[in-house]
């Protein structure tokens, strides 16, 4: 009998939850262990997407730069804030949001788009999620150059909090992996969730404090942004980069959503992993 900890074993569809959880955990562990594989595949994917462009990676960065400069300027005037202060705020916030939205979008479609692979090439399903998250991280890294430029131009001053920015990024990526493990199977099962995720994401830009400060909402009004997990993750990373001391509510909110997200991933991935190959085509 194949050991239950062996990632290759799909728990039979009639298996108890404990057995499914062991099988799905083994999948996650094996997926993480194969980091050389998904890192390679992610880099190849990004390289391939540049093959037919002239500017290559710089096109993406240039596009983002134009966007944040324009939007940053307009919104600093709208908010009555000095451009020098508000531009970095908008830029770092927007880039973080773009990473979160990109990961969410990629993770929603991760299994649906790889159905052929799931049915022909045996690998941990977690590897597919990790590859998707890695691709979004590489794209984000292109945009980080803009932030580096802001540091060089002294628009942002380095602070000790900057050392924690990689930790904040890691928290975001961890959440992305968890989202892939629960939202990926859900979208594979209910295909109309993919467009729903898409339209939700376009709304989220407005419910996340990127182009305004969360402080403009007083009292119960604060719920406009408080319900939204992106608020906390954007805040966490942005505060670390800009050198503001992270707010307690930001840290608590990010921690709470991370735990809830991981719990959801553990339960849903265990429940759906064996059925997933039957749902995709």
């Amino acid at each position: 009998m194949t050991a239950p900890t062996d990632w290759t074993s799909y728990a039979p569809l009639d298996a108890a939850f404990g057995r499914r959880l062991r099988a799905s955990s083994a999948d996650v562990v094996e997926g993480l262990a194969r980091h050389k594989a998904w890192r390679y595949l992610a880099v190849e994917h990004v390289k391939n997407s540049y093959r037919r462009t002239v500017l290559g990676p710089w096109w993406l960065t240039a596009q983002t730069l134009l966007f944040v400069l324009g939007v940053g300027y307009v919104f600093s005037r709208l908010n009555g804030q000095p451009v020098k202060v508000f531009l970095p705020y908008v830029t770092v916030g927007y880039l973080t949001f773009a990473l979160l939205a990109g990961i969410t979008r990629a993770c929603a479609n991760v299994f649906v788009s790889q159905g052929g692979l799931i049915k022909s090439t045996r690998q941990p399903l977690t590897s597919l999620v990790l590859r998707a998250v890695a691709i979004e991280t590489i794209l984000f890294a292109h945009n980080v150059i803009i932030v580096a430029g802001f540091f060089a131009l002294r628009l942002i001053d380095p602070s000790p909090w900057l050392a924690l920015a990689p930790v904040a990024l890691l928290v975001i990526l961890l959440n992305g992996i968890a989202v892939g493990l629960w939202l990926g199977p859900l979208v594979a099962r209910f295909r109309d969730l993919a467009p729903a995720v898409e339209s939700l994401l376009s709304l989220m830009v407005f419910f996340t404090p990127i182009f305004y400060r969360a402080g403009i909402f007083k009292g119960t009004e604060h719920l406009v942004v408080a319900w939204n997990p992106y608020t906390y993750f954007v805040d966490l990373f942005r505060e670390c980069v800009l050198g503001t001391t992270p707010d307690t509510s930001t840290v608590v909110g990010a921690a709470a959503f991370t735990l809830a997200n991981m719990a959801l991933a553990a339960v849903l991935f265990a429940r759906t992993r064996s059925r997933l190959p039957y749902w995709v085509s």
Binding site: M1, Y10, S120, T121, Q123, P277, W279
Partner: protein, 252 residues
């Protein structure tokens, strides 16, 4: 050490309709109290088999008899609904059509590395091996062109070359190796013989008797998910064809 054991393996799954894949419709049905359970496909019923090393098994049966499902379960690509599956050794499967698992945008050379990597090899090891694999595939100067520009036969050759270069202990093949030409078929057969001489386990699902006779010595006849006959290839083929003739006679 290679071995394939299936114990009382059953596979049934819901055939999801467009309606089932739609959450809004499902919720609407729930509110209206309407419930149409999805159609259940019973692909395999209580299949038990034990293949020791050196086995060369052919799978025969009509379309939809469960051959591909059985191969997918052996390959670990699908879980059974119930029953136990024990496969020892490295399993590789040529399933799902000639192009399955290939990245159409990437070159043949890149696919050698990326497919190997997905099957558990390290990128450097695959890069080191890529010339040898491409040489065997006979793609020649086309190796660096994107895979979508290849013919079906070329894609099948590429996939066969990659998978067999990974030294499987158990090799599962659905409908031969596809549209490969005669020259490549000879090379592929030589490689299969090499693999079989190493006491690997080979399972081939096919409708081609000639192919089965060439590469297998035992067979299983699957009929609507049930093992109808099992044993020496010729005997099983005879029974299978006899039932087929019988059906035709009855139809007349």
């Amino acid at each position: 050490m290679s071995r394939v054991q299936l114990d009382d393996v059953t596979a049934k799954y819901d055939l999801l309709s467009v309606r089932d894949y739609n959450l809004k419709r499902r919720l609407a049905d729930l509110v209206k109290g309407r419930h149409e359970p999805p159609k259940v496909i019973h692909a395999l019923r209580s299949v038990t088999l034990d293949l020791p090393r050196g086995s060369r098994l052919g799978l025969v049966g009509a379309n939809g008899a469960g051959k591909s499902t059985l191969l997918s379960i052996m390959a670990g690509l699908l879980p059974p609904t119930s029953g136990r599956v024990n496969v020892q050794g490295r399993v590789l499967a040529l399933l799902g059509g000639a192009a399955a698992g290939l990245d159409q945008e990437a070159s043949g050379r890149d696919n050698v590395v990326s497919m190997g990597v997905q099957l558990g090899e390290l990128p450097d090891a695959m890069r080191a091996r890529s010339d040898e694999v491409l040489d065997f595939s006979g793609l020649g100067a086309r190796a660096d062109d994107p895979v979508f520009s290849y013919s079906t036969g070329m894609q099948a050759r590429l996939r066969f070359s990659i998978l067999t270069s990974l030294r499987p202990d158990v090799l599962l093949v659905d409908e031969g190796i596809g549209a490969a030409d005669a020259a490549f078929a000879n090379k592929a057969n030589a490689r299969l013989d090499e693999f079989l001489a190493g006491a690997g386990i080979f399972v081939l699902a096919s409708h081609g008797d000639a192919l089965l006779r060439q590469q297998c010595d035992q067979a299983i006849w699957l009929d609507r998910g049930v093992v109808r006959a099992q044993g020496a290839l010729d005997a099983v083929l005879q029974q299978y064809h006899a039932s087929y003739d019988q059906q035709q006679l009855e139809a007349l």
